[in-house]
Each structure stands twice: as structure tokens, then as C-alpha cells.
């Protein structure tokens, strides 16, 4: 494998690691945000739904 290709592959690997980690971190933050905002401003008319008709 040419050296340049390996160098770019290693860079891509690093971007993958950082990218996936950051993506999950952001989604987890949004998850917390979503739960918090929903708790602070709850909606009305709560009703349960059966999973299948």
C-alpha cells in the first residue's frame, strides 16, 4: 500500500473516531435537552396508546 494512501487512511480513521464520538455526544446532548424542555413545558391531553389496534 503506498505511503500516501496509508497516511490519508489514518487521517480518515482519526476523523471517523472523532466524528462518531462527536455525533453521539451531540445526540446525547439533544436527548437531554429534549427531555428537559419537555419536562419544563409539558403538553396537555395525555392519553395512552395501545401498541397495536
Amino acid at each position: 500500500m503506498p505511503e500516501t494512501v496509508m497516511r490519508i487512511f489514518k487521517q480518515a480513521l482519526a476523523v471517523t473516531g472523532k466524528g462518531m464520538l462527536a455525533l453521539f455526544a451531540f445526540m446525547f446532548l439533544f436527548f437531554i435537552l429534549l427531555v428537559l424542555v419537555d419536562r419544563i413545558f409539558p403538553g396537555k391531553n395525555t392519553e395512552s396508546e395501545s401498541p397495536a389496534p
Binding site: 490519508i8 476523523v15 466524528g19 455525533l23 445526540m27 446525547f28 436527548f31 424542555v37 395525555t46 389496534p53
Partner: protein, 373 residues
């Protein structure tokens, strides 16, 4: 008189082949209904730009530069990133985040199902593409046309044509690509898992605050992603604010239709024979398929991983809906669930995962822009 036949004498077999490619895209758009709003303009545009001395592209005539209409659109709409960003406003106005609030954990699938982006990027690097080109190719796996175009216009303008065609073609092929991958990675017992939840109403304050807070939060950590996520969330705010109904409808319909039309035909300006007929195009088409396969696998395997820790198990097929192809992927999962058990309705959960995929794909595009130098 000679001038009348200049097209016939100057045309090359490569240009004829590209016209056939354009015809093929028009066929797929009309007969198979594969993303017709995009593939039809791209197909017709491909024919336009491969006519010798076509006046839709910049030409030099008698030492004088004549400006072509599609070249103007390309410089004004793609190079400035205006067209993809306008599309994000339209998409944002179409998204209803309320299903996500009912099952927030599904938000994580929007991250897991982006794995194909990174897998394809690494594979592209191994095939000899530069890092920026590899990243642009990987973003086909966002299953989100405007994000692919946005990143490609920054990182690999020379590959914009094949990347766009691959992105939109595979989005249309989600019903063919996803089911075999899901079946391969799940047992029948897993596919039969039922899910329960509530269908409570979400307050308007919550729905208004969410897009604003997401934009600010993303912007503070990754400013390069602000344009992408900001325009998407702006569109959503217009939808949810409740006082801009006309604008919201205009964004969802007229803006979306008009910009899609312009985006499609403008992308076609890069589909000239000398640019498109390269070995790299074949690699891009192949790597795009890999990206979609590994997106699906990433989502399904993450759901299986979560199930190891959850009391109430998640149907792992839902994980595959974490890609951005909305609502196609959600429908595919719902149909697969019904095939296994006609009384198992997964649509609401699949839609939630699919909506999270829309946030995830845009975010992934922004992160790629921030991380790749």
C-alpha cells in the same frame, strides 16, 4: 450553412454516452419514480450540457466569453451554497419533531445510522482519493441530497455530479437496499419485538424552543455546522411558531419545489462527458452503495447493543430508520414489521428514528466540515 451542422460534426461518443445517461435518469424518474423531482432535471440537464457548444454553459466564441445560464446558476447557487441551504429551510418546515419527544431514546439512532458515512470515507481513502474527496464521497451515506451537495461543493467540486447522482439514486433505492441488510443482521424473534409508547400532545413552547436551543448548542460547539443545522432549524421554527402558516406552507411547497428544480438542473452542469466519464465515477457509485449498507448495519447493530441494557427491548429494525431518507426508510421498516406480524405497527417509532436521522445527517455533514482539513 456549415454552422448549422456544427453539432453533428463536433459531437463525440462520450457526449452521446452522457446523453444516454441523461435519458436513463429521465427513464428512472418517470417510469420507476426514483426521486423524480431531482433525477428528471439532472437527466435533462445532462442532455443539455453534452450538446456540443451548448449555450447553457460558458463558451468562448471568436475570442469573446459568452456566459451560459447553467454556469450562472452554478456560480450563484452551488458555489455560494445558497441552493442547498434554501432546501434546508424547506426540509425544516416539513419536519415534525413531536414523535421524537414521545420516545427520545430513538434520537441516538440518528447518530448510529451515520456510520456508513465514515466507513465509505475510509474505503475511499484506501482507493486513493484525497481526504477531502473521500469525505465528500462518504457524505453520500448521509442519505441526504442537500448535505451531500453542500459538502461536495466545499470539498470536491469536480465530483459534484457523480456524488449527487449517487446520493439521490440510492435514496430512491432504500426499499431495495435496506431489507436484505436488516434481515441478515436480525433474527425473526427480534423482528417480531413489539414497542409501546404514548401518543401524548407536545406543548408548542417545547416545539418552538427545541430548534432554537439545538442551533445554539450546535453552534457553540461546532460553528462550522451552524449554516447547515441553523437553516434546517430555522425552517422548523417557521413551522412551529404558529404565526407564519403561509410562510411555512410556502417553504414546504413552493420553495421546496422551485429550489429542487434549480438544484437538479444546476447540478447537471457538472455532468459533462469529460468530468463524469472517469473511473472515479464508478468508485463513487460503489462507495455510495457501501455507505447506505453500513448506515443500515450501524443502526441495526446499535439497537441490538442497546437491547443488552434495556428492560423494554427496541425492535432492531427501527435502528435502520436512523438514516435521513425520510419518510422512505420509516415506511420500509413499518412494512417489514407488518410482513413478520400483521398486527405489529412500527410506523410511529420508525418515523421518530427517521426524524432523528435528519438531524444526524446534517450534523454529520457539519462535523465532517469541521474535522477534515
Amino acid at each position: 450553412m456549415e454552422g448549422l451542422f456544427i453539432g453533428f460534426t463536433a459531437i463525440t461518443w462520450k457526449q452521446l454516452l452522457m446523453m444516454a445517461v441523461g435519458g436513463g435518469l429521465i427513464y428512472l424518474a418517470i417510469k420507476k419514480e426514483y426521486e423524480p423531482a431531482l433525477l428528471l432535471p439532472i437527466g435533462f440537464g445532462t442532455i443539455l450540457v453534452n450538446i456540443p457548444y451548448s449555450s447553457v454553459l460558458d463558451q468562448v466564441e471568436g475570442g469573446r466569453q459568452i456566459v451560459g445560464a447553467l454556469s450562472i446558476f452554478f456560480r450563484a447557487g452551488i458555489l455560494t451554497e445558497i441552493f442547498p441551504l434554501l432546501i434546508f429551510i424547506a426540509i425544516g418546515a416539513m419536519i415534525d419533531f413531536s414523535p421524537l419527544f414521545r420516545k427520545p431514546i430513538l434520537l441516538l439512532f440518528g447518530a448510529a445510522a451515520q456510520f456508513g458515512i465514515f466507513f465509505a470515507m475510509m474505503a475511499a481513502a484506501l482507493f486513493g482519493f484525497g481526504l477531502k474527496e473521500a469525505a465528500a464521497i462518504g457524505v453520500i451515506g448521509s442519505a441526504d441530497g442537500p448535505t451531500s451537495i453542500y459538502v461536495a461543493s466545499r470539498f470536491a467540486r469536480n465530483l459534484l455530479g457523480p456524488i449527487s447522482v449517487a446520493a439521490y439514486s440510492y435514496m430512491a433505492l432504500v426499499p431495495i437496499i435496506q431489507p436484505p441488510v436488516i434481515k441478515l443482521l436480525t433474527s425473526r424473534r427480534e423482528r417480531l419485538i413489539r414497542m409501546d409508547g404514548s401518543q401524548r400532545k407536545i406543548s408548542q413552547t417545547t416545539l418552538v424552543l427545541f430548534p432554537i436551543l439545538v442551533t445554539v448548542l450546535t453552534g457553540m460547539f461546532a460553528p462550522t455546522a451552524v449554516a447547515l443545522i441553523g437553516f434546517l432549524m430555522f425552517g422548523n421554527l417557521v413551522r412551529e411558531c404558529g404565526v407564519l402558516k403561509k410562510l411555512s406552507l410556502a417553504a414546504q411547497n413552493e420553495l421546496a419545489s422551485l429550489v429542487t428544480l434549480l438544484l437538479g438542473i444546476t447540478i447537471a452542469s457538472t455532468m459533462t462527458a469529460e468530468r463524469f466519464l472517469q473511473v472515479s465515477t464508478l468508485f463513487i457509485i460503489g462507495l455510495g452503495l457501501c455507505a447506505f449498507i453500513f448506515d443500515t448495519a450501524g443502526g441495526v447493530l446499535f439497537a441490538k447493543l442497546l437491547n443488552l441494557f434495556l428492560k423494554k427491548k427496541i425492535n432492531p429494525m427501527i435502528g435502520a430508520a436512523g438514516i435521513s431518507a425520510f419518510p422512505m426508510s420509516a415506511r420500509v421498516i413499518h412494512t417489514m414489521g407488518l410482513k413478520e406480524d400483521p398486527s405489529n405497527y412500527l410506523l410511529m417509532y420508525a418515523v421518530s428514528a427517521n426524524v432523528s436521522g435528519q438531524i444526524g445527517s446534517v450534523l454529520a455533514g457539519g462535523l465532517i466540515l469541521a474535522l477534515v482539513h
